[in-house]
Amino acid sequence: MDLTIILAAGVASGTVLLFAAVGEIFSERAGVLNLGVEGMMLMGAVVAFGTAVATGDPWLGLLLGTLAGGLLSVLHAVITISFQAEQVVSGLALTFLGSGLARVIGEDLSKAGAISLLPKLTVPGLSMLPGFGPVFFTDQSVLVYFGFIVVPLAWYWIGRTRPGLHLRAIGESPTAADSLGVDVVRLRYAYVIIGGLFAGLAGATITLAVSPGWFGELTVNGQGWIAVALVIFAQWSPIRAAVGAYLFAAIRRMLIDIQGPDQLFGAPNPFYFNHTLTFFLEMVPYLLIIGVLVAVSGEAIRKRLGAPAALGVPYVRGERGH
């Protein structure tokens, strides 16, 4: 167990969660809960991988996978914004549809061989930084670096710009935003689709950079749901989401590495000698998410933080509400 390796792996695979969570933050900040992240990620993953297999071009795969996630989210936007339907159910439907469709598309892809992946880079200079260099800037995929750029940009956009102010307004008080001339419907559409593009990108990141290949639903394996949970943990802040994503992925990597050595902290490693005990290790990430949500709920109540006030509420002009 090497801490640098664990943290570097956490940054690499945490990038998936980071993209998905940032996308969901945009959507939820606009007041639209999208529980279809898992489905959109699966679509992004399968389209990206399939394109890379067919054309040999991972960049084209990245583009089409991202677009596939965005395309699926249009459905959610129409149903929840124009038709004002229940956002929870629509999101669940999106996950069913996305995973079903992805499995149909990916039917023959599980037998596909190796593909050329997106390039990995080591940043000269920065990789020499003690501690940080080997973790963040050594032999990481270009998408990891893209993640480093996206997070501060998203933070700046939401918190420091005029369009970001409009974004927060339509999520907190669409009636007030509307009366000030902000086009609530159009902006909500835009941010739901941005969320979908990010989810597609997250899926593409899995198959083109983190763990290439198509393994059906196991390709994404619940990371879309974990991203939704991360958004709550992050209290709708991209920076907190990034920290959470890297840490969570690092912990998951550590749980795998624990099973390797026959000695753990100077004692015989129980997970090495009794393999069935590792099922308890596999529970840990999910229990951790629950534990974190419980902890955050207490903090949210104390600091009066919380979800955007109009999250989950369809906006109907002229009707009482937010």
């Binding site: 129409v78 996950t95 069913f96 549809l97 749901w225 949970a229 109907v316 002009r317």
Partner: protein
């Protein structure tokens, strides 16, 4: 509710010679929900067919195959009902929780925990081998419902007391339940290192119709088991619970308007935990019915996602217990026939499309839509 100004599609400034006028409905005619549901399912099947056709399949052949291999004979009809059984119970679990707008997405995990609880009765074992069915089976039912109820009460408690999002908690607990089950079937209960337990003794099997083939020869080979009766009885009980009991009234009121319910002095915290526990108990019973009625042992792959399909079932049924029975039979057919359909994602895709068109169709329940010619 105030009447609102009608919405026009497309909006002003369009050059189309007509526009759609959406007016808020003040009352919904009784026939309309049934009609929109039926219409939505037809549209969904048409869209699914179109996708299958684009993908190079023969949609008509696939649909004919689904119907033939699920309703074509008494034998396959019986198999369809066997698949519908766990859906009825998990569908009721979701319908009850959704009535209160509690999003229990964890019926899958509660199902697995119920299956585990029922198995524990004969595998630990809690009752000695050879205990008659009349004792073993009720004990298994109680154990399964208790395991499911406790597992359901956890998200209920966290939601009620700490305001933790129940969707995420129930989803995470699904994974935890799967690993818990895996531990037992790979570890302490594994038979010869395989990932399944030893078979249950016959006293722990739910009676099947085919068991009565000696008296009624037509029953030979019919796999329908007592679990179907559990589902039907549960539907009747939940129907009366929701529409005729005081707590049922409270649940519906909380679902319609949590604020009004609070002002009326209804204990939302308590009801949240109770509803989640009942919901979990129903899903747990489904798990017991599956291991004792179909598989007769505990293994990892006991559910092809019953707990998730249950969400759609509950929604198609408009959260009505009797509707859950009908919808379960339809989806039981889809699951049964779906096992032979390639690619394997087709049934999930069709489920997603059906759910989508259902929620989209509800716009017709909220709005009256008129086509208007543009005045010159």
């Amino acid at each position: 509710m105030t009447t609102t100004s009608p919405v026009r599609l497309p909006a002003r400034g369009s050059r189309l010679p007509w526009s759609l006028r959406l007016e808020r409905r003040l009352a919904v005619p009784r026939w309309l929900p049934v009609a929109t549901t039926a219409g939505a399912i037809i549209v969904a099947l048409a869209i699914s067919g179109l996708i299958l056709w684009i993908a190079g399949g023969d949609p008509v052949a696939i649909f004919v195959h689904i119907i033939g291999s699920s309703f074509g004979s008494l034998g396959v009809l019986s198999d369809t009902l066997v698949k519908a059984t766990p859906l009825i119970l998990t569908g009721l679990a979701c319908a009850l929780a959704f009535r209160m707008r509690l999003w229990n997405i964890g019926a899958e995990g509660q199902f697995l925990m119920g299956a585990w609880g029922a198995s524990a009765v004969v595998l630990i074992p809690i009752v000695p081998a050879g205990t008659p069915s009349i004792v073993t089976i009720p004990l298994m039912m109680v154990a399964a419902m208790a395991a499911g109820a406790v597992y359901g009460a956890i998200p209920g408690f966290l939601k009620a007391v700490r305001g933790v999002n129940e969707i995420i908690v129930t989803l995470m607990l699904n994974y935890v339940a799967l690993f818990w089950l895996s531990y037992w079937v790979f570890g302490p209960w594994s038979e010869g290192g395989f990932q399944l337990s030893r078979p249950f003794p016959p006293e722990a099997w739910l009676p099947r119709l085919s068991d009565a083939a000696g008296a009624v020869p037509d029953f030979a080979g019919l796999t329908v088991h007592l679990g179907l009766a559990f589902g039907l009885v549960a539907a009747v009980i939940i129907r009366f619970f929701i529409f005729r009991s005081r707590r049922g009234y409270e649940i519906r009121l909380i679902g319609d308007s949590p604020k009004a319910a609070r002002y009326a002095g209804i204990d939302v915290t308590r009801n949240t935990i109770v509803v989640f526990a009942i919901s979990g108990a129903l899903a747990g019973l489904a798990g017991m019915s599956e291991v004792a009625g179909v598989v007769h042992r505990l293994q990892q792959a006991i559910s092809p996602g019953y707990g998730f399909t249950a969400i759609i079932v509950a929604y198609i049924a408009k959260l009505h217990p009797y509707g859950v029975i009908v919808a379960s039979i339809a989806f039981g057919a889809l699951i049964l026939a779906g096992r032979e359909i390639q690619p394997s994602g087709i049934p999930a895709m069709i489920q997603g499309i059906i759910l989508f068109s259902l929620i989209a169709s509800e716009v017709f329940l909220r709005y009256q839509i008129r086509l208007e010619r543009r005045e010159a």
